[in-house]
């Protein structure tokens, strides 16, 4: 399964036209990303965020994500399920537990049991792309303690149509 993660990272970098350096195939995904960020001269968080958005653009992954919520708010509120969902498919990936809380001002806070930095970056890219996909208007801000999500309009625009059956193609 880790090979699949490496492959996703490699495909992402290939599409971003970042050539893999010789010997990169021996690095783990985090190593590859750090190496690529250094050569692109951009912070690794930014690259990981772009990776999060890229994941949503992959048809198979997009479909799996859309199974996780009927609208963006539902998707957010069920983020806690995500690690268990991933463990349904494989148990050899190290996925942190995801915590969700709501502050009195109505903001949603997403936190991670470990790997705070990389998961905050990955999820901020992924959530922004998913909000777009569902047609929700929201502001997602990475903070030290995790992600802060402020949904101003969960039905701002028409979202992309998702059919439960992969055989029915979205029009």
């Amino acid at each position: 399964m880790n090979d699949l993660v490496s492959r996703a990272v490699e495909r992402f970098l290939a599409e971003e036209s970042v050539p893999l350096q010789a010997g990169a195939e021996n690095l783990d995904p985090a190593g590859i990303l750090h190496d690529a960020a250094r050569r692109l001269n951009k912070p690794v968080d930014e690259l990981v965020e772009e990776l999060g958005a890229w994941l949503v653009r992959q048809e198979e992954i997009w479909r799996l994500l859309r199974f996780c919520g009927r609208d963006f708010l539902d998707f957010l509120l069920r983020l806690e399920e995500l690690p268990d969902r991933i463990r349904l498919i494989t148990d050899d990936l190290d996925i942190p537990e995801i915590g969700l809380s709501r502050s009195e001002d109505g903001l949603l806070w997403v936190s991670f049991s470990h790997g705070q930095a990389v998961w905050t970056a990955l999820l901020s890219g992924l959530l922004r792309a998913m909000a777009d996909d569902y047609g929700a208007l929201c502001v997602i801000t990475p903070r030290d303690s995790g992600l802060c999500v402020d949904i101003s309009d969960s039905a701002f625009a028409t979202g992309r149509t998702f059919h439960l059956s992969p055989r029915i193609h979205a029009s």
């Binding site: 996780c68 349904l88 992969p166």
Partner: protein, 336 residues
């Protein structure tokens, strides 16, 4: 908790979107919202909606429903979509009639595709969406793994081909030749044997000495071209040493036929010789009759003996080894 519960239709619809209330005779009183999507619009009787599942033998649907009252699993198929099986159970709520509740079981993804069902067609307590999620995740992972496997297989094939190929000429190398000979002796091929042609260039050393090794290599590539041009696609061509080549000529051959092809090869090689070098070839040939997969080394040695007879007798000629006399009586392999 002994007090009875009474549910209104809307509560039943939300709790069990795939329920059905029927009379003992099979007349349909009401159906949940998802169940209604599966039924013909004017259906009034369970017989119009279902057929019995495979293996059931009561002859009519209501019989199967009544039989499941005792707590058995009820398995039915949709009359108009017989690939879709539903499974469920039946209770008699006590106020007359029967209450049935269903789910799709393993027909789930088919049903979702056929009826265009959405998340709201399933009760939140159902695992339908998780099942579909898992199915798609599995498929995606499997596709990726299959891609990995294909990639590995191609890499292995490349490595194998490289291990059996002479890098200068692209012909088989000694290992490739050995495999090709083993294959040629495979009993299931049922072919009438083959001829092994061993050839060694005459005066090749002069080319290397006078014109350098690069010219020598170029000539070897030329000779490889002559050889592959002269034989058929199903024959084998190998370079097993500096200027030593071996051909496997498939099929039954006469001495005359072999002499002809040997002569054509010698002529072809003489034609590509650099001027004043007089490169030619000495050829020794053995027939596969009398040899087997376990005596390929002896066969090569005998071809070598025939080759040296050609050298001794003045080079640029073809010698064919006499058929070996087996030491003990044994069937001649490859002969018909």
């Amino acid at each position: 908790m002994s007090h009875g519960l009474t549910f209104g239709q809307d509560v039943l619809d939300r709790l069990m979107p795939m329920h059905l209330c029927v009379a003992e005779c099979g007349l349909i009183h009401s159906a949940g919202p998802t169940m209604r999507k599966l039924m013909p619009p004017d259906a009034q009787d369970v017989e119009e909606v279902f057929v019995e599942g495979r293996g059931a033998a009561s002859g009519h649907v209501i019989g199967a429903i009544r039989a499941a009252k005792g707590g058995n699993r009820l398995a039915l198929r949709l009359r108009h979509h017989r690939r879709l099986s539903l499974r469920g159970h039946v209770v008699a709520p006590g106020f007359g009639g029967l209450l049935l509740n269903f789910c799709f079981g393993v027909s789930l993804s088919e049903a979702v595709a056929v009826f265009g069902l959405t998340e709201s067609d399933f009760a939140p307590s159902e695992l339908a969406l998780e099942l579909m999620f898992l199915q798609e995740a599995n498929r995606a992972v499997q596709q990726e793994l299959a891609r990995f496997n294909r990639h590995l297989m191609l890499a292995r094939k490349d490595a194998e081909r490289e291990a059996h190929t002479d890098s200068l000429t692209g012909l088989l190398n000694r290992r490739g030749l050995q495999l090709a000979m083993q294959n040629a002796f495979e009993p299931q091929r049922g072919t009438p044997g083959f001829a092994l042609v061993h050839l060694d260039l005459d005066n090749f050393k002069q080319v290397n000495d006078r014109m350098g090794h690069a010219a020598g290599d170029r000539l070897l590539v030329e000779v490889a071209r002559v050889l592959t041009r002269t034989v058929r696609a199903r024959d084998g061509v190998a370079r097993i040493g500096g200027d030593e080549f071996v051909l496997i000529l498939d099929g039954a051959w006469t001495c005359q036929g072999l002499t002809d092809i040997g002569t054509r090869i010698i002529q072809g090689i003489e034609d590509v010789s650099p001027p004043d070098c007089n490169v030619s070839a000495s050829v020794g040939i053995v027939l596969s009759a009398g040899y087997g997969a376990d005596t390929t080394d002896r066969m090569l040695e005998d071809a070598d003996v025939a080759l040296y007879r050609s050298k001794r007798e003045g080079k640029g000629r073809v010698s064919i080894a006499p058929l070996p006399v087996p030491a003990s009586p044994r069937p001649l392999q490859g002969l018909r």
